[in-house]
């Protein structure tokens, strides 16, 4: 069924709690084709036009519809608002997938390699979940970590993102040159009003990770009032700091025991190198 408004959709979901909401279906149909999912009924969200755009709210916040497609977020008008999210959307799969794949689907799927997730974590976005007759507001990190998951009968409707008016960078490392999922990604945003650097590392863990200490340390190294310059050595150290914070010694090793006895695994050394390069470059570009 294809409800034309949000109210119709939440009512339909309340009437049939086993029904599966479908946005772009790029994650959903992959699971259906592979036999991992047998939907009892489908509720298509594609006709809810209000969720396919965004609006502004007082206090410098953009409210993004869950139905925004990756292709839409890649367009210049959106990219001027939230550059890092546009960069993430631009790399999220081939055109056939980005034409229909949505922001809401990316968040609800919560795949480790979901490209918008580190950006939303770095922006400290919140999401609105709606069910018949009620809505609630949840920080995206609580949703992703399972602290406060999407409940049955709820739809993700809006994503609130602060407009920071400062450089933002999203960088992603992949296993091949074409469209591919991230092996590691870094989102980094500057918040000049609070003199803060916020950074999140994606794809190295089930959820995006925030290296809070490294963020705080590097924010102190930046000359916020002047040209926002930073010593290149500090940029490099920031990369190492982020990598050490986000990739454990035992990464990729069989069990924790091995990790304790043998030092950093080869996989963790490799991944740390990737993350540190991404983080160093991201900071360098943000402060350029």
């Amino acid at each position: 069924m294809l409800p034309a408004s949000l109210d119709e959709a939440v009512d339909a979901l309340a009437a049939a709690p086993a029904a599966v909401p479908v946005a772009g279906a790029t994650d959903l149909m992959e699971a259906v084709n592979a036999g991992r999912l047998r939907p009892a009924a489908l509720i298509g969200l594609g006709r809810i036009t209000e969720l396919r755009g965004w609006r502004y709210e007082d206090g410098g916040t953009a409210v993004l519809g869950a139905g925004l497609t990756h292709a839409r977020m890649d367009r210049p008008d959106f990219a001027a608002l939230i550059p890092a999210l546009a960069d993430a959307a631009r790399t999220a799969g081939p055109p056939q997938v980005r034409n229909v794949g949505t922001l809401g689907g990316n968040i609800v799927t919560a795949a480790p390699a979901g490209d918008t997730l580190p950006v939303l974590a770095a922006l400290e976005a919140t999401v609105t979940l709606a069910r018949a007759g009620a809505t609630r507001e949840v920080p995206v990190s609580h949703l992703l970590t399972g602290l406060d998951p999407v409940r049955p009968g709820e739809l993700l409707t809006w994503v609130r993102v602060p407009l920071l008016h400062a450089p933002q960078v999203f960088l992603k490392a992949t296993g091949r040159s074409g469209p591919a999922r991230a092996t590691a990604s870094v989102a980094l945003v500057l918040d000049p009003a609070r003199r803060a650097v916020r950074c999140a590392v994606g794809a190295v863990a089930p959820v995006p990770l925030r290296p809070l200490e490294a963020e705080a340390w590097v924010a102190g190294c930046i000359d916020w009032d002047g040209s926002r310059e930073i010593d290149p050595a500090a940029t490099a150290a920031f990369g190492e700091y982020v990598a050490a914070a986000c990739v454990p010694d035992g990464y990729g090793a069989e069990g924790a025991w091995e990790a304790v006895t043998e030092g950093p695994s080869a996989a963790s050394v490799r991944l740390r190198r990737t993350v540190s390069v991404l983080a160093r470059r991201a900071l360098g570009r943000a402060l350029k």
Binding site: M1, L2, V22, G24, A25, T26, L28, M29, E30, V32, N33, A34, L37, R38, P39, A40, A41, L42, G44, G46, D74, R75, P76, A79, A80, P83, A86, D87, R90, T91, G93, P94, P95, Q96, V97, N99, V100, P167, Q168, V169, L171, K172, A173, T174, S177, G178, P179, A180, V277, L278, R281, R285, K288
Partner: protein
Amino acid sequence: MSTDPIETLDADPLGLAPQVSRELRPCASYTLRVNGFERPVTDAWIGESLLYVLRERLGLAGAKDGCEQGECGACSVQVDGQLVAGCLVPAALAADSEINTVEGLSAAGGASDVQQALAESGAVQCGYCTPGMAMAVHDLLQRNHRPTEVEARQALCGNLCRCTGYRGVLAAVQSIADARALEAEEAEEAALAEETAAAAAEQPVEQPGAAPAEPPVEEPVAEPPVYTDAWIEHVPQPPAEEIPATVGTGHGLPYGADGQGGYDTGVYDTAVIPPVQGIPAQAAEDQVYFPQQGYPEQPYQATPAHGTYLPPGAGYPDGYPQQPGYDGGYDAPVYEPTPAHGTPVHGAAFDGTPAHGTPYVPTPPHGVPAEGSAPAGVPYGATPAHGIRLPEDDHAS
């Protein structure tokens, strides 16, 4: 979409079929609008993909099933004018959308310019990727009449081809864009000429813009067409040499010969198949490369009888190198080292295998244009190719 009420399964009185109740396998009936025709689908499981329904229920086998995961692009179709992977669209939710498939490109029986160009530029080997590729090229050129090479690469990055590579497709994109631009220019010129002629005569002449004067005839809802293979203009071959009957028996046509002489490896040869009724076999002369038959004639001169005295430099056929006499001194040939592997001997460099010892230049990330031509603001390094910014959306400073 409406889910049918649960029915009892009495089609299988012996109860041998696995008892999958309607609750576990909910079905729906709906109508798809494919290439402008209403195609009813009855009682289909709601989890069926558009690709499956097109191929198995509607008999439109143009879109191919390569992976069912959105990775290969062989199933590309347009839904509401957008290029999508047919395997990732739940068919039941595409019910009130406009669906265009590769069959629609060649609706009139003849190949569209996209299909013709793909065939001509050698972009087809096994052809499995080709319908998806044709849809992707069609979609690209609908949105962007003059794509740069980077834009073309980005648009095609979701279509994998395991045989041919992408050079032929990229060449096809440019040739179609050129041809369409030329056509548009000619049409414009013709319109302009007509206009000036009309102005000179100072007579109200029907404007070309008003040409389709008769209102568009509402086509009656017709039976959906039976699609046949698209007709690729045949590249003509010269007639075969008659093989004399005495030359032996048991010889059919040599493998790969098309019965009209020559080996046709480039284009799918429709000449050996009776042409689809109503479609004229096309024959365009003088655009054919056909290898010369036989060897060039050369006067044969027998070796003179052994012992025949030949003075130095005499008696040899014209052009044979002059032999120095024995006392003429030994002329050591200049030593030329074996050229490095892959070095071209004559003519243009073969640009496949680089010469041995060529410094290794890593393959640039996907979509990166050749050296020096990168648009300003293109990020390097970790951001993959399809993430390259186009000049117009270079937002980040």
